[in-house]
């Protein structure tokens, strides 16, 4: 289990990194935290001809507190997000999720941008970003563009990233008033790939009816999966236990879960409804408690 030969580049700037990626094309891979890429290389399943190491690029790291949104540099490590008071205040859903991401040693290296670009269907961050209506800043030699998380993830390990393009930053919008959040996940052991996970935001109006909701699931499709049917079931209703249960059941229409040795598609459907119900319930409770 030793990695194959590759060329190693350590650019001094993002521009140099972009130039290197453009120069080497499809054979090159950006090396961020490397916590998914390097195991794949040790198994010799990933055999990139060249690695462009982004770890020296401080300009890509950092957590910024904007008026309308929280901004995360792509190379911000999971551990920094996990420990950040700013994130806890501005994007509590993200803070609640971080401990589910693998293990402490992995979170000390893993990066936000790397996890999003890798787009593992079982990863937590993509689903949380979709639920949070986050948007990503993509940069290539030809310039920058913003893209909504929802449109960034295009399939199984597939994203809207063009060749030679990097995720450089993430913006997570501030929560609306009377918004509750929750993340629920089941895995065989703490830190394993989720069998199913659910991230949700629920906003109630002054009358306590559901004004808006975002529910995104992981490990139930080719990427993070939004649950429009479940959201529709909540629209304008009082979030009673029955209403939340109905919404959770509606999730079944939104997912096409895979089977593997740890969970059949049928079991994943069960988990998706249970965890969605639990997540919605906690999110609504949070609004109540924060209101009182």
């Amino acid at each position: 289990m030793k990695p194959p030969v590759f060329d190693y580049f350590r650019p001094a700037s993002v521009d140099e990194a972009l130039a290197l990626l453009a120069e080497h094309g499809a054979d090159a891979k950006a090396l961020a935290g490397g916590q998914s890429l390097v195991p794949a290389m040790n198994f010799r399943l990933a055999q990139p001809a060249a690695l462009v190491d982004l770890n020296g690029l401080d300009e890509l790291a950092g957590i910024g507190d904007g008026p309308a949104a929280l901004r995360l540099g792509a190379m911000t490590r999971h551990c920094a997000v996990e420990r950040s008071a700013v994130v806890a205040k501005r994007a509590p859903l993200l803070t609640e999720t971080m401990p589910y991401v693998a293990h402490p040693q992995i979170r000390n290296r893993g990066t936000v941008g790397g996890s999003l670009a890798h787009a593992d269907p079982a990863a937590e961050l993509p689903a949380v970003m979709v639920a949070s209506s986050a948007r990503f800043l993509l940069r290539s030699r030809s310039g920058e563009r913003w893209i909504d998380a929802e449109r960034f993830f295009t399939g199984l390990f597939a994203t809207a990233l063009e060749p030679g393009e990097l995720v450089t930053a993430v913006e997570v919008p501030t929560l609306a008033p009377r918004t509750g959040w929750a993340f629920e996940e089941m895995s065989r052991r703490h830190g394993d790939y989720a069998l199913v996970g659910v991230a949700c935001l629920v906003t109630l109006d002054a009358a306590g009816r559901c004004a808006a909701a975002r529910i995104a699931l992981l490990s139930v499709g080719e990427g993070p999966v939004l649950a429009p049917s479940a959201t529709a079931a909540l629209a304008g209703v009082q979030p009673t236990a029955d209403a939340l249960r109905a919404a959770a059941e509606a999730v079944n229409a939104d997912i096409d879960p895979p089977s593997d040795i740890h969970a059949s598609a049928a079991f994943r459907r069960r988990l998706a409804t249970v965890l969605t119900r639990r997540a919605l319930t906690r999110a609504v409770e949070r609004i109540a408690t924060s209101a009182s």
Partner: protein
């Protein structure tokens, strides 16, 4: 610069400088064990699950099997060999000995290196917190109970002696600086 073979790596390991010329693909775990002869860092899975190869990079616990040696260039690495300063066991090592927290001892260095920064940042953990902190390290012999006891013992003593600060190595400050840069 493209560097296939012959990439120069200069770093400090347990406080002393080291420079070697290596292939980019050389894993940090193999670099420490076979280039520097620091065989206390063990390799159990080489895909980032078992935690036996855990070392400190700029004070943070990382899997040395998921890093290339070239990535450690200019950084500070600490291994289990660096713990017992002047022959005296580190408080966590001593606690492991007293609570019988090791049997075959193969996974032990990884546990120790995970715990050194953890106890600095969490001087008074609960049992559940300790178990969560250990969840990235696999042990096949002990069933974990005595390891949990060892951490609790070390924490009690550390709290009593108020020595968390005293343990902070320069490399650690660099590490927390990096983390703070993220939070700034």
């Amino acid at each position: 610069m493209s560097v296939q073979a012959g990439h120069v790596v200069s770093l400090t390991v347990n406080g002393s400088p080291a420079t070697r010329t290596v292939e980019p693909r050389l894993l940090l775990s193999d670099f420490l064990r076979h280039e520097l002869g620091l065989t206390g860092t063990h390799v159990g899975c080489e895909h980032g699950v078992c935690g036996a190869c855990t070392v400190l990079l700029d004070g943070e616990a990382v899997r040395s099997c998921l890093l290339f040696a070239v990535q450690a260039d200019g950084h500070a690495v600490e291994t289990v060999e660096g713990l017992a300063a002047g022959g005296e066991l580190h408080p966590i090592q001593a606690a492991f000995h007293e609570t019988h927290a090791l049997q075959c001892g193969f996974c032990t260095p990884g546990f120790l290196m995970t715990l050194v920064p953890y106890l600095r940042e969490h001087p008074t953990p609960t049992e559940q917190e300790i178990r969560e902190a250990l969840s990235g390290n696999l042990c096949r012999c002990t069933g974990y109970k005595n390891i949990v006891d060892a951490v609790a013992l070390a924490a009690r003593r550390g709290a009593a002696a108020g020595r968390q600060g005293a343990e902070a190595a320069p490399a650690r400050r660099a590490g927390s600086g990096a983390a703070r840069r993220g939070a700034a």
